[in-house]
């Protein structure tokens, strides 16, 4: 991966060699790449499960795998994708790599802790992979009691332990980011000069720090009940399984925002760069990230409308849920308004960002359906919900992640990817995604329950459509994988600032030097100041 041009200059990739220089690195950029390799692996494992699920659902009879296997497939798909791919994805890869650079820091505040976080994710992932290979787990990623504590025969403990450990990885990353943002900003980098990517990560980190510990203790209680028979949620002793659901969703609802907020940050960067225009209403967009993080903690009970929580609680949580709609709507409208009178170019990252807005709009609007008590009675635990959260988590979070990968790939590797292929893959993914998940809205309203191995015949047409879409989607995900690897050797050498973006990370060379900047930057104006960027370029050029 080293070209003649880059060979002369030392950067973080060629500063040292060997396995040890990677496994013991404290450089946030290298740790970001370690995460990238790890979560890509987890993504393809989770994707393999998804493929098997979709193939199984081609026919109504449930004839490809046994129902036992099928239950393990959707459980492991959920566990892998949520805890080992989506939650670490943008923060641990792109956040790790770029957050310090964007605020002009040499590294995160706690580099050793950062490396530890990566090891924790790996160890957690290994536990879960072990559980998978040893026989799997069939509780669903939600681990509802008493099924998970008393009735399931799967490797619940190993999987839960894996999630517990990965949770600490997430907590430590969030903690590291918050301290870094508070204490490590370069001279002149005031709060309202920070890129929105940093704001989004600040909000995300708040959730990681405040929410994840509750998941951790819930898993501990699950463990105590299953292994030591402490029976905290056991109805036979007067315990309440619904209490488990409260604790679980206290984390797991905000966790959705851990996945999608960083994506929103990425999209803000991309939309601004490729419109060559500051984000419309920068402060409001920045605050809306924090608002989503805070409000996201007040709504978890909307997962429990028919679960046996009280009528009154249902109403309170439904009411509060609608408040999240405000900052979300603001973001979508403000991104769209940013395009107005911009100078818009359609390179790959922009295609992903626009795709994100579209899919997130649909995902968000269908969220209004499931937050409405009357409709949620009918659609909860059906494919409608499955479609809704895939629109947010795949259409939203994953599109943002891929957009960010394309945006920053030149900076990370010093290489450009082939633009034509990249545009094609963006299109394929967008179409494949909609074909996969749109039919599931209809299936859900028709009443097809989720987690069904076999289903009534009248649902087959829509299931076949969905599976067809999934095959397109799978191809769409393979293409970037191939050309990214290809570009490491054959891609064009990337300039320092290929997109004409304003962030500090573009002011240093590609790939960046070990401590990011030759000289600590001094910030004199806000993010997205294209006028002064172009003025500088004129001076330099």
């Amino acid at each position: 991966m080293i070209t003649a041009a880059a060979q002369e200059r030392e950067h973080y990739l060629n500063a040292s060699y060997g396995l040890k220089s990677w496994l013991l690195t404290k450089d946030h950029k290298r740790i970001g790449l370690l995460y990238l390799a790890t979560i890509t692996l987890f993504f393809f494992i989770g994707g393999a499960f998804a493929t098997l699920i979709r193939v199984e659902l081609l026919t109504p009879q449930g004839d490809l795998v046994s129902s036992e296997t099928y239950n393990k497939l959707f459980t492991m798909h959920g566990v892998m994708m949520i805890f080992f791919f989506l939650i670490p994805s943008i923060p641990a890869v792109l956040g790790n790599f770029f957050l310090p650079m964007m605020i002009g820091a040499r590294d995160l505040a706690f580099p050793k802790l950062n490396l530890l976080s990566w090891y924790l994710l790996v160890v957690g992932g290994l536990f879960s992979l072990y559980a998978m290979l040893a026989g799997g787990v069939d509780t669903g990623w939600t681990f509802y009691t008493p099924y998970s504590t008393t009735y399931s025969n799967g490797y619940v403990v190993a999987t839960a332990l894996g999630i517990f450990i990965a949770g600490f990885s997430s907590i430590l990353t969030g903690l590291n980011f918050i301290v870094t943002i508070h204490r490590m900003r370069a001279p002149g980098m005031t709060w309202f000069r920070m890129p929105l990517f940093v704001w989004a990560h600040y909000a995300t980190s708040l959730i990681q720090v405040l929410g994840t510990p509750v998941l951790a203790v819930t898993i501990v209680l699950l463990f105590l009940e299953r292994v030591l028979h402490l029976g905290i949620f056991d109805p036979a002793r007067g315990g309440d399984p619904v209490l488990f659901q409260h604790l679980f969703w206290f984390y797991s609802h905000p966790a959705v925002y851990i996945m999608v907020l960083p994506s929103m940050g990425v999209v803000s960067e991309i939309i601004s760069t490729f419109s060559r225009k500051a984000i419309f209403g920068y402060r409001i967009v920045a605050f809306s990230s924090v608002a989503i993080a805070v409000l996201g903690f007040l709504v978890w009970g909307h997962h429990l409308f028919v679960s046996g929580q009280s009528l009154y609680a249902g109403m309170v949580f439904s009411f509060l849920s609608y408040f999240v709609a405000i900052p979300s709507a603001i973001k979508v409208f403000n991104w769209t308004a940013t395009l107005y009178k911009g100078s818009i170019s359609f390179q790959t990252p922009m295609l992903y960002a626009l795709g994100f807005i579209g899919l997130f709009t649909i995902g968000g609007l269908t969220g209004l359906f499931v937050a409405a008590l009357g409709i949620d009675i009918h659609v909860t635990d059906t494919y409608f919900v499955v479609a809704h959260f895939h629109y947010i988590m795949v259409g939203g979070a994953l599109m943002g992640y891929l957009g960010g990968m394309h945006f920053w790939w030149p900076k990370m590797t010093g290489r450009m990817y082939p633009e034509g292929w990249a545009k094609l893959s963006a299109l394929v993914i967008f179409l494949g995604f909609n074909l996969t998940f749109f039919p599931q809205f209809i299936l859900g309203y028709l009443g097809m329950p989720r987690r069904y191995h076999a289903y009534p015949e009248e649902f087959q047409v829509l299931n076949v459509l969905s599976t067809a879409g999934a095959s397109v989607l799978a191809v769409g995900y393979m293409i970037p994988m191939i050309y990214f690897i290809w570009s490491l050797r054959y891609g064009k050498v990337a300039p320092a600032n290929p997109w004409g973006a304003t962030g500090l990370e573009w002011k240093t060379s590609s790939p960046p030097p070990v401590h990011n900047f030759e000289e600590t930057p001094v910030v004199t104006h806000g993010a997205y100041d294209y006028a002064s960027l172009m003025a500088e370029e004129v001076e330099v050029g």
């Binding site: 129902s67 239950n71 069939d138 509780t139 669903g140 509802y144 008493p146 099924y147 008393t150 009735y151 399931s152 036979a236 007067g238 309440d240 399984p241 419109s275 419309f280 209403g281 409001i284 028919v306 046996g308 109403m315 439904s318 709609a325 405000i326 709507a329 979508v332 409208f333 403000n334 769209t336 395009l339 009178k341 911009g342 100078s343 818009i344 170019s345 359609f346 626009l354 579209g358 709009t361 609007l365 209004l368 937050a371 409405a372 009357g374 409709i375 009675i377 909860t380 635990d381 028709l446 329950p449 987690r451 069904y452 191995h453 015949e457 009248e458 649902f459 087959q460 047409v461 172009m534």
Partner: protein
Amino acid sequence: MGKFQLFPVQASTLAPEVDHLLYFLLAVTVFFTVLIFGAIFYFAIKYRRRSENELPHVQHTGYTLEILWSVIPFGITMVMFTWGASIFFTASKPPNNAIQIYAVGKQWMWKLEHLEGQREINELHIPVNTPVRLTMASEDVIHSFFVPAFRTKQDVVPGRYSTTWFTATKPGKYHLFCAEYCGTNHSGMIGWVYVMEPMDYQNWLSGGAAEGSMAENGKKLFEQLACNNCHKEDNSGRGPNLVGVFGKQVQLAGGGTVKADEAYFRESILQPQAKIVSGFEPVMPTFQGLVTEEQLVQLVEYVKSLGPKPGAGPVDNGQKPAPKKSSNAGSTPANR
């Protein structure tokens, strides 16, 4: 491939209400999706980059637009909330004239029992245009009673009773699903709801081989378990006389009252000491582990049949909400 559908049948009084709210939400969704997609496409084409060095000059000051596009959507969502909540309220509160049916979920089947004693597995026969109230229990894990054509769904949590109700409006055969993942054969925990004309329903009830009504079976159990040794009808037993108790407020030892509903009877059989009736000693043994949920509902139904309105007619469910803090001695919440 079965018949292809895009929209589920409406077969209950609730269904059109839910669907109307859905139409409203769909309209809002389509409007905003078209608005956003349209704006993106329009701006993207109109303001595409024409030269490499162009620099847009737009000043954005004030927050008028932001206020506009947060207040208006919020107003719309409040309509959704109010509308949805009112449907939910209706769906939560069974009418007083509903006929009572019991359901017990266990891995992986639905067992249903009519007051007249008819028992069904994975099938439920009900009369059309008659409110039906289901009192549900689970023998093992959480299940969820879901009839898409009725737009109704209720989780059945082990350790307590759950309630749902519906009025079917169209005779026919409709899917019954378990909607809460319950283990290996979750997708096999399905069945049919048969909605029948009242006459057909009466015929169906009287046909078949019901071994006595639920109350009669409960009475047999009551005697087998020797409950009647203490709960005597002449007030001479060591336990309270159960005649006419159902639906009333019961004075508890140590002060306070509790409404004698299904949940209270269930609890009193399983955890007799939780709420002792005033004037009695806590001497009753627990029947936890000795009776199944199915036997429990029979016992409860028997005690109900001794209530103010004996027999299997419309059940008085106590229309008034239980007064708040009805029991200060209560060491167990009856209505969990």
